[in-house]
Symmetry: C2
Subunit: 432 residues, 2 copies
């Protein structure tokens, strides 16, 4: 191969197999996609060792993608349950899965995942470092962290969250300005603790170039983590968040200089009126790198329903430029999600992504909506189920209540507006 | 009493009991509220015969309100089930209930509702006309329609949906321009059928002044129905919808001239990128009258999840100026909602309304979010449940999985970011 990474290939004018597939899936020309990958506006996370991958592009002008979080942990070490979530994610066509395992046989779990998942795979190596190394946090060395990164890269992980932006500068601003919820990023809090306890610089920042060497070798995409993600609407768009974002923009350029693909991670909890400004800010400060967001959750008060608070924020954000949505389940803030939570989280994220794709004018996004509406006008239930985001639920709901007339539902019965209007427009008898 | 309606009182500088209560609930001055009611920017739907009412204001600068639809019908004539929905709506603090009964003992059901509901009550008289009069649609006279309106008004209904904007002009544009989903408003389709079959003008348009006389007598607020509400994202903001909206703006002025309070109803299905423009258009064409919206549903393809598509659209719309959200349940497009559907619909609508109130800067909207986030930082679960939109679900979720440590949840366990950050900031030992 004449190139190390998708970005290097694109810069050199090479159309890779992965790029061809992505261009086909998106219905755009290979050349326009290549230009976007070369400029960093699109990432195609595709580790050279992830052989089962069906590649996807993330970024400018492409469909909004969604990610599912799962993994084994101390409180939930049931491997088969986690694999049921993997199967469901693939069935429901999530484009990415992040394995957040932090306890037990994480190596083996990851291996299985990489062997079987057509979805792109992400990890947060620092979680695994804590569980895998079996050392006290303070005794983990910078080299230990790099070793875990290398291990994940070699195994075939497509993208990794690296919290390199929470450096001494960011922490200094955080301590000076204060916050209601402080740090709510798990990886960020661990690095903050490590830095405070050891007195050293963030190892992922200090040895960023070494991390980039590993990523370049396996074509891992860096997902620049937002340790200062606001965990309350009171903290959003504050000096801590934006200071870190500026660092992420600087780190983006350093990655690109080594042909490493980049995504930047974003908020968090955030009031609706701030979302659009945050999208503009990220695109500007991070030089149009793809934006991967968790939420934003548009209110803090809805535990049990954060798939909804997140769907609201995610749809607005993606319509305004975010490229990639991390799902949030109803279990957020409360417990590890079970299979039903995962399903609800995926569907909510897919709704947000699709609604945003319509809004931002992604070609052909409206085609399925128009098919659905045509089926509705014709009161053709089988056709409606076919175009539903969850055909099983749609069918189950309608069929749970007996109806007088096949061409209506129990909601309006004979007074169905569609039926009435059709009868008049077609000159048929009205049966009210 | 020196006035007939809240609007007349406000115009005359009279501070009514109802206005006092609303000003207190909203935390604003009586004088500023009076000015808004006088100008029509706020409506306080309060029928003089609804004695159990705890009045609410709808409109400019006030909290976004939500409405719950229910009622007895041919396919679901179980009165006690519908009353369970009423109880739940009141428990969950929905500000309005629309009784859409169209079959059976609608008079008695409405009577019970008016006697017991502190929430404001709305109806769509034309639904009841079909069921109550037991006549063929074509045989219902204009006077029959007015008689049903008078009956509802006398009983104590606070606001009524009247589809007066689907007149000959609107139908002419509709027929010329065409649509994917035609007419999806139930009341609108019945009037369309009546007009096509009888060859006459819309009776609510032709006898609008007579309707206003009834409304003035009992202080019923007119909710100008949008018969041309788009039922597909392909139909939104089209000539049919906007032609009707122009008519609704003209009818708004005619109502105000008789001191009748007005709300204007809006879409519907609508892509995210069109929502803000629609809010601007309604406020301009309808002279700043309160906007009462159903949805907007931001995609057509999610039957079973339209509480989510609607929460996305409703939050965006309310943040951009809509004042009143009609709930949408997961059963929308599929069946009559059961009690669980009603609950999910109410919670989703409340989330949308609250998130919008934060965004539009309603005073004190953020207070509860800040309390929740403080409780989160302190990992105080009882306090978190207290500020949750659904305390029972939050508790049930967290307590469904055993956790090692009382001060965490199964999601992150010992790796809880809040716990880690607190330990470092407070100089306590880290227990990872």
């Amino acid at each position: 191969m004449s190139y190390k990474t998708q970005m290097q290939a694109a810069k050199n004018g090479v159309i890779t197999e992965q790029l061809k597939i992505v261009a086909y899936k998106e219905g755009i020309s290979e050349e326009s996609l290549r230009a976007r990958v070369a400029a960093g506006a699109v990432a195609i996370p595709a580790n050279i060792n992830h052989k089962s991958l069906s590649p996807e592009g993330v970024g400018e002008g492409l469909r909004t993608k969604i990610n599912v979080n799962l993994g084994v942990s101390g409180d939930c070490a049931d491997y088969s349950k986690e694999f049921d979530k993997v199967k469901l994610s693939i069935e429901l066509k999530a484009e990415a899965i992040m394995d957040l395992s932090n306890y037990g046989k994480t190596f083996e779990f990851r291996k299985q995942l990489i062997e079987h998942s057509p979805a792109m795979l992400g990890t947060v190596p620092i979680y695994d470092a804590i569980g895998y190394l079996e050392k006290e946090l303070v005794n983990i060395s910078a080299q230990d962290f790099l070793d875990v990164v290398e291990l994940h890269a070699r195994q075939g992980v497509d993208f990794m969250t690296i919290h390199a932006g929470i450096n001494r500068k960011t922490i200094s601003v955080f301590k000076e300005s204060g916050r209601l919820m402080n740090i709510v990023s798990r990886g960020g809090s661990l690095l903050f603790a490590w830095m405070e306890l050891t007195g050293r610089e963030n190892p992922f920042y200090e040895y960023y170039d070494a991390v980039m060497d590993i990523f370049r070798k396996y074509d891992v995409t860096i997902s620049l983590g937002d340790a200062m993600r606001p965990g309350a609407i009171a903290d959003s768009t504050d000096s801590s968040q934006i200071t870190e974002l500026i660092e992420l923009g600087l780190l983006t350029k350093r990655a690109w200089a080594r042909d490493v693909q980049v995504m930047v991670e974003g908020p968090g909890h955030m009031a609706i009126n701030e979302i659009k400004a945050n999208m503009v800010l990220q695109k500007r400060l991070c030089h149009n790198a793809p934006f991967y967001i968790l939420g934003p959750l548009v209110t803090d008060i809805a535990p049990g329903y954060d798939h909804i608070t997140s769907a609201i924020g995610g749809a607005i954000a993606a319509a305004a430029g975010a490229d990639f949505l991390c799902y949030v389940t109803p279990a957020e803030h409360l417990r590890l999600p079970d299979l039903q939570d995962v399903k609800e989280g995926i569907i909510a994220a897919k709704i947000a992504a699709h609604a945003a794709d319509i809004a931002k004018g992604i070609p052909s996004a409206r085609v399925i909506d128009n098919k659905m509406s045509k089926a509705r006008r014709e009161i053709d239930w089988e056709e409606m189920y076919k175009h539903s985001i969850d055909p099983e639920k749609a069918r189950r709901y309608r069929e749970s209540v007996p109806v007088e007339n096949e061409r209506s539902c129990s909601m309006c019965g004979k007074m169905c507006a569609v039926r009435t209007t059709n009868a008049i427009l077609e000159g048929k008898e009205l049966d009210l």
